[in-house]
């Protein structure tokens, strides 16, 4: 099936993301990339756990002093919800409903932006209230590297999805761009997976002590 072909509601297949060989390759290759990302984030988690609360002097803030439940909870809710909205987007993609897909992707991007904004506020808060910065201690370096890497992934994901939405806004769905949307949504879910561990290991376990 040629990728460029104009599709209709009737000819749109059940798995539009895997119709061409290129699409299948992209699908598989991206999953493998996520396998590698798993190791990358695991390494960052290991670093964080090894350096957690390692500060040069006893009057510096530790994990239990820093983290607060409400902020972490709101961030988590934003990101979890954005995961659901991107599922909705893929649902509409499979139903060949381009407008609704774009709408849900748009909501996803907004939620992601909200998350990112809160994260920036949070980092700013720690630096100014607790003097907990990237350079203040090994704990600080490890914390900002782990959470910041995740934040950078969120930012890149937002850029990616936005680019896809704009690029394809006039063209509608085709077998050429369906795998692109699908892969971007996989990436977005993966970001959420990482966040689940971050809020558990960094924030909740940090508060427990």
């Amino acid at each position: 099936m040629a990728a460029e072909q104009k599709m209709t509601y009737e000819t749109w297949p059940a798995s539009p993301e895997k119709q061409t060989l290129e699409a299948k390759n992209k699908f598989l290759g991206f999953w493998f990339f996520l396998g590698g990302e798993t190791v990358l984030f695991a390494s960052l988690f290991a670093t964080y756990l090894a350096l957690k609360d390692k500060v040069p002097s006893s009057d510096m803030a530790l994990a239990k002093d820093l983290f607060e439940i409400p902020l972490a909870f709101i961030m988590t809710m934003l990101l979890l919800t954005s995961s659901l909205t991107s599922v909705y987007a893929m649902y509409h993609m499979k139903n060949f409903n381009f407008k609704k897909m774009q709408l849900w992707l748009g909501i996803t991007v907004l939620l992601g932006l909200g998350f990112l904004g809160l994260e920036i506020y949070e980092f700013n808060h720690y630096v100014h209230e607790f003097h907990h910065s990237f350079t203040s201690s090994a704990f600080g370096s490890a914390f900002y590297t782990l959470v910041g890497f995740h934040g950078a992934h969120v930012a890149f994901g937002l850029l990616w999805i936005t680019t896809l939405m704009i690029r394809n806004s006039k063209r509608g769905l085709s077998l050429y761009n369906a795998p692109k949307f699908y892969v971007a949504s996989l990436y977005w879910h993966f970001i959420d997976v990482v966040w689940v561990f971050i809020f558990t290991v960094v924030y909740l376990m940090g508060m427990v002590g």
Binding site: P13, G35, V196
Partner: protein, 111 residues
């Protein structure tokens, strides 16, 4: 093509069937989402509640996280669908390598 659904010969019927299926799946995903939210709230409450000891809370919230991630992978990322054998294998291999790294960092190699 291998990934295509069984064909009844009538495209209209096929599409209706598929729509119904994917609507059903969407329903499952909304339920999954609700469960995930619920688990998250439980985890936050457990961590915020003063009455439990860390020895209980830490493993508890880790298990909750694990369940959530499995929901994500299998429902949101469709790992339960056909054609995900290789992705699953490689994701688990990555998780395994990462797990060994973390376990080693937390146990035997430190002084």
């Amino acid at each position: 093509m291998a990934t295509q659904q069984p064909n009844s010969g009538n495209p209209r019927v096929d599409i209706e069937y598929r729509r119904k299926k994917s609507a059903e799946e969407m329903k499952h995903q909304v339920i999954t989402f609700a469960l995930m939210i619920f688990l998250t709230i439980v985890a936050f409450v457990a961590a915020g509640y003063e009455g439990f000891s860390g020895w209980f809370i830490v493993p508890f919230i880790l298990i909750l996280a694990l369940v959530q991630v499995i929901f994500q992978l299998y429902y949101f990322m469709h790992m339960s669908h056909k054609g995900h054998e290789a992705p699953a294998m490689f994701l688990y291999s990555g998780a395994f390598v990462g797990f060994i790294t973390i376990i080693a960092f937390l146990t035997v190699i430190w002084w």
